[in-house]
């Protein structure tokens, strides 16, 4: 009798909890989607920031997302997908004949979001801060305001890649930033910028909104009500949000994107992965005897099946590399002759075996090759354990090499350990991404210049494989010294030829620039047919997308 009353009480408690739960879930069925009359916000996930801090300092490496895309703008924007340069805060620019200075003419009528005029002093202050806080720009001598709307950069040596580096630096307002006592540690919670969406609203640790800049210089392009950022600690959560239709723009890696994302709503959803990311290389430590001979590097390169690597390892999201080592970012610079003349990035196991035989890496009775010194030809391929795509790339390489009697072992500790090995030169081989800049200058400098070569044990942040070539040094210096485009193209072709001859690294494939979107709420996305930008949300071109989108009908 008594125990039944207890049972009833328990049930009642359970029922109350259940009803409460249902009622509460019901409450969220109508989430607040911003002001009803202005339509939904452009919702964008950020997959590698679990929580946001209200930090809109563009000099901080952990600034809130969109700080350098939507709040602050640069003088010009280089678009790797279309290979074109878009004048932005500067209307035009020219280099001096001696190559030692560069002048920018600023756009008339640009205002900061607080209503102040955009002037040359803003640029002077920005570069002072940038160099003081983060360094870099060591070729820069002075930054001088000629008048309100003209600014001149002088260089301590000829350096033509400076145009893009200087031009893509985001500019902060002098009248705000010169007041900060400690600009490096300034959190700048209510930023004043020239960008399209600058007004921070409803800042929470897991989301925030950027509302339109009331004084934007191209008001006709502010067609969306605002940008809403959502925080995620990893791809999984962000992918779930994308698949579920909770975000408009998904810039993160999604496995099998066609069936998991697009097929859910093929009318509205699409993705575009242009191969314009950093080039992914398999780097061989050339300080080791076994990798010192270019023929050995070429043989290893020929032994691996890039088609399979791209198809299986990278889900067919990219294309095999050619022997200029240039990613799709640099299609304008690519020399078709170099590509046509070379064979060491094509898959040919027999030729690879022959080349290794000639180099003295002969196979024994068991089929395993030995180095000329008689040591077994065996080495590790280092890759970080979290990069599942690159791990399968490394595994395919190891399998391919097995076929020609070379023993490669995939070594996958944490990325920090892998990179520490790369930096000190204490690794055998590894998968490495390359520099990605508007011209291939930085790429070839990091991969072939003797300046970038450090001794083993000494830390370096580029040229992990430690190979330099004096001819490349000269060409690079010549390239930096001229701003004549035809001449630059010739020099670049020459560099490609040296690269193809030396095989300093084994190029695998250009990294795809991830990006997917839905046209449910917004239209006007960049596509392969209209590559006015990539779908990256952290690139200089992002602002082009923000100023092109408009609400769907």
């Amino acid at each position: 009798m008594i125990s039944t009353s207890i049972r009833r009480a328990l049930f009642r408690a359970g029922a109350v909890t259940a009803i409460g739960a249902l009622a509460l879930t019901g409450c969220t069925a109508t989430p607040d989607d911003g002001a009803a009359e202005s339509g939904p916000m452009l919702t964008v996930p950020r997959e590698d920031m679990g929580t946001f801090s209200q930090n809109f300092n563009p000099f901080s490496p952990n600034a809130a997302p969109m700080t350098t895309q939507s709040v602050y703008e640069s003088l010009l924007i280089y678009n790797p997908a279309g290979g074109d340069t878009v004048p932005w805060l500067a209307e035009s620019w020219e280099a001096a004949d001696d190559g030692l200075s560069q002048t920018f003419h600023l756009r008339e009528g640009v205002k900061w979001s607080d209503g102040a005029d955009f002037v040359a002093a803003d640029i002077v202050t920005t570069f002072e801060l940038q160099r003081e806080l983060l360094g870099g720009f060591d070729y820069l001598d002075t930054v001088k305001a000629i008048d309100e709307k003209t600014v001149q950069f002088t260089f301590n040596r000829k350096f033509s890649p400076a145009l893009f580096e200087v031009g893509q630096q985001v500019i902060v307002p002098d009248h705000i930033w010169s007041e900060f006592e400690d600009p490096g540690n300034e959190e700048n919670p209510t930023p004043v910028g020239t960008g399209p969406y600058t007004e921070v609203s409803n800042f929470q640790t897991q989301s925030f909104d950027l509302l339109p800049n009331p004084n934007y210089w191209q008001p006709e392009k502010q067609k969306i009500p605002g940008v809403r950022m959502l925080a995620f600690a990893g791809n999984d959560g962000a992918n779930l949000a994308a698949v579920n239709g909770d975000v408009d723009w998904a810039p993160q890696y999604m496995p099998d994107i066609q069936s998991t994302f697009v097929d859910k709503d093929p009318e509205n959803r699409a993705y575009w992965f242009p191969p314009t990311g950093a080039e992914i290389n398999w780097q061989l430590n050339t300080t080791l005897d076994m990798f010192a001979d270019p023929d050995v590097r070429k043989a290893l390169s020929m032994a691996i099946d890039r088609e399979q690597i791209v198809k299986v390892g990278m889900s067919d999201y990219t294309i095999p590399a050619d022997c200029t080592g240039l990613s799709g970012n640099y299609d304008e610079w690519r020399d078709a002759d170099v590509v046509a003349d070379c064979d060491w990035t094509g898959y040919d196991a027999d030729a690879a075996a022959e080349l290794l035989d000639d180099a003295g890496f002969t196979a024994g009775a068991d089929g395993q090759r030995t180095t000329p010194d008689g040591e077994p030809f065996a080495f590790d391929i280092s890759v970080g354990s979290t990069s599942s795509d690159w791990l399968s790339v490394a595994n395919i390489i190891a399998q391919n090499l097995q076929d020609i009697g070379v023993k490669a072992t995939v070594d996958s500790p944490d990325w920090a350990a892998v990179v520490a090995g790369y930096e000190t030169g204490e690794f055998e081989t590894g998968i490495v991404w390359s520099a990605n800049a508007p011209t291939p200058y930085q790429y070839y400098r990091n991969i072939m210049s003797t300046e970038s070569v450090k001794d083993v044990g000494e830390q370096t942040f580029d040229n992990y494989h430690r190979l330099g070539d004096e001819r490349a040094d000269e060409l690079l210096a010549d390239f930096a010294a001229t701003s004549d485009e035809a001449e630059q193209a010739d020099i670049m072709s020459e560099l490609q030829r040296i690269y193809s001859e030396l095989a300093p690294v084994v190029p695998l494939f250009p990294g795809p620039e991830w990006g997917a979107y839905t046209t449910d709420n917004f239209v006007g996305w960049p596509t392969e047919e209209d590559p006015y930008a990539t779908l990256a949300t952290r690139a200089p071109t992002t602002v082009l997308v923000l100023t092109s989108l408009e609400p769907a009908e």
Binding site: I2, S3, N55, S60, D209, A241, W415
Partner: protein
């Protein structure tokens, strides 16, 4: 009093040991935060910036012992430095923003698991061999053997994705501003249900079994027989005589669990993108954010020690035997 003082001394030593460990552990890991940031940014960070970043973040370091004493000094002034992964936000601010969510999630799920688990345990032991006693414990043990995150992912898929009746992420809906009105509170509660449920389901079996087993031995005591002989109502015997005395081990467990609440159910928080301490800890480890890791470890350790100390105090009241010891 002597007992309390002795315990206090023990906790102080433990605290010092944990500070020292906190200091040492992150330093034994390979790599340094700036290079880590560089590799995470895939070269979007200019290599030339690295050196100035190192200066900026203060990871160049002096001799370790100098850093050690500076560290201890700062711990006692509540200054955990500046978070690297969320630079320039101070660590204490980061933790303060996350802690309430973890406490909420942890406290709600602990509360539910303890109440329901213990009640089930009491009932199961009281009606030994009954339906409740023979069916529920194996079932709960079975569910309890699932990893937290597996259950979390499963329920997220079923209730969030397939049925679409529960929120998928975060502690409250995007666009809401925290306030004490009904809309916000019910929104938070709705976001709490699934994460809390997945923790409760996994942990409830332990509480039930623990309570059931102590209850069974308590039920065999003479005073229970005596109470029954006196003709007291069974419900009174069950709760006031048996359960009350069987509760001591549970109190210890509650104390332990209280401390671990602060550590957060890391994986549950990650699955639901719940903005708690566990979630932040993962981000800190991924970003090699030494100051934040140290701050979090220390907060967790301090919480465990504090909870244990409180349980000691409660025990002195509940169990006269320890006062002598």
């Amino acid at each position: 009093m002597g007992f309390i003082l002795r315990r206090l001394g023990f906790y102080l030593v433990a605290f010092w040991a944990s500070i020292t460990l906190n200091f040492m552990l992150p330093r034994l890991m390979p790599g340094d935060p700036v290079t880590r940031m560089l590799s995470r940014s895939q070269q979007r960070l200019d290599p030339q910036q690295v050196e100035s970043l190192q200066r900026l973040l203060g990871v160049e370091g002096g001799p370790w012992w100098q850093e050690y004493f500076a560290y201890i000094g700062r711990v006692f002034t509540g200054d955990f430095g500046v978070s690297i992964s969320r630079f320039p936000t101070p660590v204490s601010e980061v933790i303060a923003a996350q802690l309430p969510w973890t406490l909420l999630l942890g406290a709600v799920s602990l509360f539910l698991a303890v109440i329901i688990g213990n009640l089930l345990g009491i009932l199961a032991a009281w009606r030994r061999g009954g339906a409740l006693d023979s069916v529920v414990p194996p079932l709960l043990v079975f569910i309890g053997s699932f990893p937290y995150f597996w259950l979390a992912m499963g329920s997220l898929y079923v209730f969030g994705v397939a049925l679409g009746i529960s929120p998928l992420r975060h502690a409250f809906s995007v666009g809401l501003t925290p306030s004490w009105d009904l809309t916000f509170i019910s929104d938070v509660a709705a976001h709490l249900i699934l994460p809390a449920l997945s923790i409760v389901l996994v942990s409830i079996g332990g509480w039930m079994l623990g309570m059931r087993n102590t209850m069974i031995s308590t039920n065999a005591e003479d005073y229970i027989l005596m109470a029954e002989a006196k003709g007291l109502r069974p419900r009174r015997i069950m709760f006031n005589y048996a359960a009350r005395n069987a509760l001591l081990p549970s109190v210890t467990n509650i104390g332990m669990s209280l401390g671990f609440i602060v550590g957060g159910a890391l994986l549950t928080e990650v699955v639901f993108a719940y903005p708690g301490v566990g979630y932040q800890l993962l981000a800190a480890v991924q970003g090699l954010d030494y100051p934040l890791m140290q701050g979090l470890f220390l907060t967790i350790t301090a919480a465990v020690l504090l909870a244990n100390f409180l349980v000691d105090l409660v025990y002195v009241r509940l169990d006269p035997r320890v006062r002598v010891g």
